[in-house]
Symmetry: C2
Subunit: 472 residues, 2 copies
């Protein structure tokens, strides 16, 4: 192996392991040559090859920078769910996924919890303690159905980044995005109605569809551009659809972000058929690039879109703080919110409002986006390298969720069961479908940096998949 080749391999590994993070500057040619006691031209040669591999990029007059992955893996096909409204099933698997008392050392790659280890969250933790100390005002005897005005003002300010001009009074604070979604569904539908959803789709909203006595009509969805507008139009023509439920930005679980033109076209379609859109933007602020995409809501000037979001995926799950901007449905959603839980605990509201006001939210998001993007590339590499031929992988433009489509012979519920013995869990694909689809798929979280334990788990998973394949 030549000198430059050895250096090249070493640098590649270091980049892959995150020792040099995405976006960071590599050591200068001079410095590296000195450090390794090799010639300038050796380093130059190594850097040139790194560039060819797409691992670094040159910025004129500045140097070499670590590049994110630029080539998508082999993506899943457009989904082909059942073409009729269905009742939602698979609650048992959802419960199994979320009831996380799975013992010491359990590695949950299925749940979608953010990484909370970043020092940029320290300020939030302090704000929480401060809010708990201010016992007399925020502790306690307080009821505001809409939620803290201070927090709503901060949310309105953040919404400007997604092109949304919201008045604080158009916002209602909820117990997580789940309450925002379910109140939105309640405000726009009646039992027996049909709701069109992207597919695969977040199990929280499909289980809400089940609980409300609604039927889900899953629409074919493209892994890069989102819900098929052509299929949706046909469905709107054919079925009495009362609401369209989509997650257009950093979709859970498929990872795509709908192009702006398609968002506008989706809104036009909703206008044409006079149907409200429930837009789940919970991962929107985790879009890796800046500026983040505009919400569908931002193009809506008639209050047709009910925009739902939360701090559960950006800050911390246990805050249980979400919000909804319901447009025309504000008064109806307000009644649903009252009936559901009346109001939210003041402590978390005060703390998050303070955190945002002090710039902590935006600082934290900058750090986390870079971390998650790097983790995505590592996770995709891991899966690509270990999983059997025929595996397809999503290429999320934000967030921390990977959708993996395995050879059709693999049943991921069986896989999950096999992994249980090793104290590892995944989110099986069936819970993302009303129609029992996606049996050979799964969702993996890379919120936790893919470290040695994750690598070990992926290898173990690959072995289990092989053994399931050979059984088939």
């Amino acid at each position: 192996m030549k000198l430059y080749e050895r250096l090249l391999e070493e640098l590649s590994v270091r980049i892959e392991q995150g020792y040099y993070p995405v976006g960071s500057k590599m050591p200068s040619i001079r410095a590296l040559s000195k450090e390794r006691d090799v010639s300038i031209s050796t380093v130059q040669e190594a850097y040139q090859r790194l560039e060819e591999r797409g691992l670094v990029e040159v910025r004129p007059k500045s140097g070499y920078y670590v590049q994110g992955r630029s080539i998508a893996p082999t993506l899943p096909d457009v989904s082909r769910p059942a073409q009729r409204p269905l009742e939602v099933s698979h609650w048992e698997q959802v419960y199994h996924l979320l009831n996380t008392e799975k013992g010491e050392g359990h590695l949950s790659l299925g749940t979608a919890m953010p990484d909370i280890s970043s020092p940029t969250l320290k300020l939030l933790k302090k704000s929480l303690v401060d809010a708990a100390k201010r016992a007399d005002d925020s502790f306690i005897n307080y009821c505001d159905i809409r939620g803290s005005e201070k927090l709503r003002r901060q949310i309105a300010r953040l919404a400007l980044d997604s092109g949304c001009n919201l008045h604080p009074d158009e916002i209602i604070i909820t117990s997580g995005c789940q309450e925002a979604l379910v109140c939105s569904l309640r405000a726009t539908t009646n039992p027996g109605d049909v709701v069109a959803t992207d597919s695969p789709s977040f199990y929280g909203s499909t289980q809400a569809i089940k609980a409300l006595g609604l039927k889900a009509l899953e629409i074919p969805t493209h892994p890069e551009t989102g819900i098929s507008l052509e299929a949706l139009e046909l469905a709107l023509d054919q079925w009495p659809i009362k609401a369209i439920q989509v997650t257009p930005t950093c979709n859970n679980p498929l990872g795509y972000t709908m192009p702006e033109e398609r968002r506008k076209a989706l809104l036009r379609l909703a206008q044409q058929f006079d149907v409200p859109i429930i837009e789940d933007d919970i991962y929107g602020d985790l879009f890796y690039k800046s500026p983040r995409p505009r919400t569908i809501k931002s193009f809506d000037d008639e209050g047709r879109v009910l925009l739902c979001s939360s701090f559960s995926k950006t800050l911390a799950y246990g805050l249980r703080l979400g919000w909804v901007a319901p447009g025309q449905c504000t008064e109806r959603v307000l009644h649903k919110k009252f009936v559901s839980t009346v109001s939210n605990p003041p402590i978390q509201q005060a703390a998050v409002a303070e955190f945002i006001a002090q710039g902590g939210y935006e600082r934290h998001m900058r750090i986390m986006r870079a971390q998650y993007q790097q983790a995505r590339d590592l996770m995709i590499d891991l899966v690509e390298r270990n999983f059997p031929e025929g595996t397809r992988i999503s290429y999320p433009g934000g967030g921390y969720l990977l959708w993996v489509e395995l050879p059709v012979e693999v049943d991921t519920i069986k896989l999950n069961k096999a992994l249980e013995r090793h104290n590892i869990s995944i989110a099986p694909g069936v819970i993302f479908s009303a129609s029992g689809k996606y049996r050979n798929c799964m969702r993996l979280s890379f919120a936790k940096k893919p470290d040695a334990a994750v690598k070990q788990a992926i290898k173990l998973m690959a072995a289990q998949i092989q053994s399931l394949l050979s059984e088939a």
Copy 2:
């Protein structure tokens, strides 16, 4: 005025104003004689008259003690609501009541918030700060649909006081009692169904009935013994009732506590017609006497009763922590809870669990029960003395809510409007009915000790009532 008469009046006023609290020992005859420079026999004479008025009692070899009120005021009649299932209305008034941003110095006698000024809550405040500090475990990335196991164990322990033998796994933590009630309704009914309720009835559950597309069948209710079993039996015979919703202990708003025999009879009726009972016990621990009454749930050995409660009325409203023991319906309620809000913030759960475990809850309840009982007597006196003839008043055996029935000519929505100018609000009677009943009634809270401001407010209210009467 004779010397003993002057002393008698002075002592009466002091007792009434709470200077000498209920249950406390009065100064000894000798001490008072010395202090006032009057003869022993003058003090004896005054104390004897106080005893005749029912304000103090003699305890042999000990002295005179301040007695609680022992005679009920003129109670309201048995309610006579509409005898058919109805849709619930009056959301606007409920919203007006609860949206408490009513400006500086506003005196809300309508909302049912506990007094949080007692030093016995200091430990809870400390526990909240401690829980907020324990950022890594309880802060944050945590999801347990059933709720904290530690808290559920403490709730199960407390439930023993009401005769209930619950396993922690039979309990689901909720966002206040509201979520417990609405999940219980969802688990036992389908849209269009009929729910039987006591009447007047808590607006939170009647608004839930509205939001779920159910119909309320209000059952005549006695101000001392609760829901009429005779009327309920007729209704069960006549209508397809799918659930019975009652608040048998320290009823909101009527104040009664159902006698044990009637609780058992209610359960037998529910068994006979095979209907579940949703039992709201939110004020149960505020029953003034010890031991507190047994819940209906405690007599239920087949899981027919869904017992709902919360810490909102005993500790602090803003905790937003309730719970439900749904019996046979546990799995169904669990799904409703997941769909509604997934799980509760860990901080409040950890803090309340710690507070109970350290004995803080029981200590706090002892203090508050005595305080509320004394406040009840003061409030009843105030209302009796100031309000016009024909006024009827409830005589609650626990909690801090008074139901006042005014002459039929008085519309309490109008009264509330008139009071707005004086920065005072009450809860108008109509919000406690699905059928627009109780227009001449209102609910007053005496959680806050009736101080000079409250006295002033009651007098002002009396004047407004007079002017409404003269308009009529």
